[in-house]
């Protein structure tokens, strides 16, 4: 079986709704970043366009790649991500009390973004091998052990946001793979009682973020500033928004990080509720197509991969939007394809590429 398969059918059977929503989202992302670029005087949108192209090219290549070959590549992938994350700790750039980036010439490579997709692939691979449809504790511990090294490396950066997100993605895939009800119940109780312990080991700035999240007025000038300004930006958007490049919060720089973590806030301010509904509906289309791919593939690995990729994108959208809207603490999770950042864009598009690869082979896979 060849790794790459340039079958014309692959193009013919492409999920056009998925592609349509993807392109629309990238259009919105570019538009929004153009506004953020004008506000800050830096051409983020051009760089982002470049990353879109790189990502699309990679996704296109993945589409023609037989995802089933990932099984043989899994140790290679795991090794690569461990090395990359290890490098971050050694030569990484420090920002905001955490080391996250490896400087690569003019770019900053963020391995923890790629780790998200890596986890999806590793877990899908792990569960695909099994035969059960409902696992016990072993079903949790084995995959956790599998990803423990990269997870700890990210946790140590420290990147609590991404670590948490990774756990949520892992949890989602485990749930999709199936857990016994008794295990679910025990875990729910155990998890709640573990929270105070987790709190104890958090860094002061992490604790502060959560405290400020619970009461942003505690610190209007400091950590609460981000959320407060973001809510002001979103709230001033009203139904139709202030207009493209007309939002005062973003254009006068009251909104911090309007090109990265708070890009959705900028979109809300300038395009209002209507713009937000359009964007989130496009994502709903994307999610539904992702889940549809997971459903219609006859292959267990394909189903896990498709679900994992969808969950990965969904959780990032959910967490970032909640944070921007002030219903979740500020954590460094980008809004996929909307927030500026090459690593995030390429990771997301690689995920989409995997989705397309799974979908292209939904009928090729023989029973």
């Amino acid at each position: 079986m060849a790794m790459f398969n340039f079958d014309r059918k692959i193009l013919l059977h492409m999920d056009w709704w998925l592609v349509f929503s993807l392109l629309m989202i990238m259009g919105i992302g570019t538009t929004n970043l153009y506004s953020a670029s004008i506000a800050s005087g830096q051409s983020f949108y051009l760089k982002q366009l470049l990353w879109y192209l790189v990502g699309l090219a990679a996704a296109g290549a993945l589409m023609f790649f037989d995802y089933r070959n990932l099984a043989s590549l899994r140790f290679l992938i795991l090794g690569a991500i461990i090395i990359a994350l290890g490098l971050v700790l050694v030569i990484g750039k420090t920002a905001g009390g955490a080391q996250r980036w490896i400087p690569l010439g003019p770019f900053h490579f963020q391995p923890s973004e790629f780790a998200k997709l890596t986890f999806v692939v590793l877990l899908a691979q792990h569960f695909a091998k099994k035969e059960e449809t409902a696992f016990g504790y072993k079903g949790i511990l084995q995959p956790l052990f599998l990803v423990s090294v990269p997870f700890l490396l990210i946790f140590k950066q420290p990147d609590l946001g991404t670590s948490g997100l990774l756990l949520i993605i892992v949890g989602s895939i485990i749930l999709f793979a199936g857990l016994k009800w008794s295990v679910v119940a025990t875990l729910a109780v155990g998890g709640l009682s573990l929270m105070p312990v987790l709190w104890k080991y958090m860094k002061p700035y992490q604790k502060k973020r959560i405290e400020i999240f619970l009461n942003p007025e505690l610190d209007l000038k400091g950590a609460g500033y981000h959320v407060t300004q973001s809510k002001i930006a979103v709230g001033s958007g009203h139904i139709w928004g202030n207009g493209f490049m007309q939002g005062t919060q973003g254009q006068l720089s009251f909104l911090p990080e309007s090109h990265t973590d708070f890009a959705f806030s900028l979109w809300s301010e300038e395009w209002g509720l209507a713009g937000c509904i359009v964007l989130l509906c496009l994502y709903l289309v994307l999610f539904s197509r992702g889940l549809a791919i997971a459903s219609r593939t006859k292959d267990r690995l394909g189903a896990f991969l498709a679900f994992g990729v969808t969950a990965m994108i969904f959780w990032q959208v959910m967490i970032n939007a909640s944070m921007v809207l002030g219903i979740f603490p500020v954590v460094g999770i980008p809004f996929p394809l909307i927030s500026y950042g090459g690593s995030s864009v390429v990771t997301t598009l690689l995920g989409i590429g995997l989705l397309l690869s799974v979908d292209a082979r939904r009928s090729i896979v023989k029973r």
Binding site: F254, C276, R300, A303
Partner: protein, 624 residues
């Protein structure tokens, strides 16, 4: 077969795919639910709370600045400028632009030469009350030399801005500082007081004199500049500009030339001069000595300066004409002479014998003339200022009648001048003593009061208005020092008319007796102020020498310490036949009224006389 098995191992194909489809459907439903939560949150923020957040966004970007109005000028009655305006340069710190406060202070403190601890305290105090984008004034009205140094260093001092504000300029060096008053930063307790209705924290407002009393009129109305700013406070554009309304100009009744003459005459003395128009109550000159520099209050006052300004002996800030009450000495005899005439106790021919002393009870009261005046009539009692005559008169009148007439002529109560902290002086009575000391009145005290000693005190202002009432036939006016107030463009004006308090009912013949005697004080060769007579004009007046310490411990005046010396008074009006000016002079511890106070009055009257020649046509000119 083997191939198939191998394949199955690598990527297990199962019949449980429908189960995963079910799980995917559940996941899809949960995702839909989650997105619905985002929608409801968006609806809450963008629709329900929109107004609140819109207002916050506006609040973020829009800032309103006050634009100081130019303060109105103060002119004398002829439109000569007494207090104008000029730009003052304030050194301010704009905290939002400060990169490193410690570095900045380290560089700035030596340039300013200020005390660092004091500066930090001021900064801290202002930081609590003022928003980040509002400059904090750390040095007001900086000297030109210092300004140049700081301007040249500005690129090294991020966060330091030079604010230009309208400040006072005094074209004629330091004239009438007590009357004009000084400007100072508004205090917390002044905020919202009637004279400061438009002032806000940090404003320079009138703290005394005309500046304080007419503060609201002089200050004008601050304008407003509404600007859009970005997150670092940089200005994006001006959205609205309301120009400030300049303050009204004030014209005083003061004649600057006369004022200057009065101040010059008081030079090196501690005392007061009040010159008024007897027919209208307009104040022509009102001087207090020693003077102070009103400009020092516009800056930060050093502890040494502050100590000097609050010297307990010379009290430069004390506005003596109306805040200082002194025993009137012999000038008070006029009150007794008038009372005795009005009560019918004495007439032109009433006389008492003066042998230089007056035994009363266990004490012996003396006349200033130890040899005695002999048989003394009303005329001679005033001209030569016989004490014994008034011991007799005072005892016959009794303290309550002295008190009644003193009050009738406007003494022992405030004149009602529209300036703060006026001293009413004291005209004692039996009732007064009971209330004040819970003691009964002694006749011996009446004897003291009869020659203006004891409890009785008066201000130079009261003295001028009392003698003016004598001069003008019994009309007592309320002191007036504001001629008119006019808007900067002169489209609005308000004039102030003389205000007659009351007319004292006295037979003209009786008043004429007193006036004739008062004229004798200067014009009669035996008069106590004969030395200061002026060629070509008849003056009327009365000298007064008020003891500060008891007679028993007194020595020759010149040999006593300054603070034990007598206060010298002289009150006069001229011309005696048709009074146009009334002058009262007090010299603290000056010695004899005739020799210390009268020459000062003479200089003022001479200046007045000189000014009666037609004035050159002075062109009106607004300085700013």
């Amino acid at each position: 077969m083997a191939k198939k098995l191998n394949f199955k191992l690598r990527s297990g194909i199962h019949d449980d795919i429908p189960l995963y489809k079910k799980r995917a459907d559940i996941a899809g439903l949960l995702m839909l639910l989650a997105i619905a939560i985002l929608f409801s949150r968006l609806y809450f923020l963008q629709v329900i709370s929109h107004e609140k957040y819109k207002a916050k966004a506006e609040n973020n970007r829009i800032r309103s600045f006050r634009v100081q109005a130019a303060r109105g000028n103060i002119y004398d009655r002829f439109g000569r400028i007494m207090a104008g305006t000029k730009p003052y340069y304030n050194v301010c710190i704009l905290r939002q632009e400060v990169q490193n406060m410690e570095t900045l202070l380290a560089r700035l403190v030596p340039l300013l030469g200020q005390d660092e601890i004091e500066l930090r305290l001021r900064l801290q105090e202002a930081s609590r009350n003022q928003p980040l984008y509002e400059p904090i004034v750390i040095e007001r009205a900086i000297e030109w030399e210092k300004l140049c140094v700081i301007e040249a260093q500005l690129h090294n001092l991020p966060g330091v801005v030079i604010d230009v504000v309208p400040g006072r300029a005094y074209p004629d060096e330091n004239i009438a500082p007590h009357l004009l008053g000084y400007l100072g930063e508004i205090t917390d307790s002044q905020l919202g007081l009637p004279n400061y209705t438009k002032a806000v924290k940090g404003d320079m407002v009138g703290q005394s004199g005309v500046e304080a009393v007419l503060n609201d009129s002089l200050s004008g109305e601050a304008g407003k500049k509404v600007v859009e700013v970005n997150v670092v406070g940089g200005m994006e554009r001006v959205m609205e500009y309301v120009p400030p309304k300049p303050g009204n100009d004030v014209y005083l009744t003061i004649d600057m030339e006369l004022q200057k003459a009065a101040e010059d005459a008081l030079m090196d003395k501690v005392g007061a001069v009040v010159a008024i128009e007897p027919d209208t109550g307009r104040i022509l000159a009102m001087a207090s000595s020693p003077k102070f520099e009103p400009e020092v209050f516009a800056k930060r006052i050093s502890p040494e300066e502050w100590k000097k300004l609050n010297d307990p002996v010379y009290k430069p800030l004390f506005n003596r004409p109306l805040q200082g009450a002194y025993p009137p000495g012999s000038t008070f005899k006029t009150v007794l002479a008038l009372a005795a005439l009005q009560e019918g106790i004495s007439d032109a021919n009433t006389s008492y014998f003066c042998n230089g002393s007056f035994p009363f009870g266990s004490r012996v009261f003396r006349c200033w003339n130890e040899r005695g005046h002999g048989q003394t009539s009303l005329y001679r009692s005033l001209v030569e200022s016989c004490d014994v005559y008034y011991y007799h008169t005072g005892l016959r009148l009794g303290i309550d009648r002295i008190s009644k007439y003193g009050r009738l002529w406007g003494l022992g109560e405030k004149t009602g001048i529209d300036l703060p902290n006026e001293n009413p002086g004291i005209i004692p009575s039996k009732e007064w003593k009971k209330a004040r000391f819970k003691d009964k009145w002694h006749e011996g005290e009446t004897v003291s009061v009869s020659i203006g000693q004891g409890y009785v005190t008066m201000t130079p202002l009261q003295m001028a208005f009392f003698y003016a009432a004598v001069a003008n036939g019994g009309r007592l006016f309320k002191p007036n020092f504001v001629e008119k107030v006019a808007s900067a463009d002169r489209l609005w004006e308000k004039s102030f008319k003389p205000e007659l308090l009351r007319t004292i009912d006295i037979a003209p013949a009786k008043l004429e007796l007193v006036k004739n005697a008062l004229t004798g004080v200067v014009q009669d060769p035996r008069g106590t102020a004969h030395k200061i007579r002026i060629e070509g004009i008849n003056m009327a007046g009365k000298t007064g020498t008020a003891q500060v310490v008891k007679q028993a411990v007194r020595k020759q005046d010149e040999k006593m310490a300054w603070k034990y010396r007598d206060h010298a008074w002289f009150v006069c009006y001229a011309p005696a036949e048709n009074p146009q000016i009334s002058v009262s002079v007090l010299i603290e511890h000056g010695g004899h009224g005739g020799s210390a106070a009268a020459p000062v009055a003479k200089k003022v009257v001479e200046k007045w006389q000189e000014l009666q020649t037609p004035l050159p046509n002075i062109k009106y000119e607004r300085l700013t």
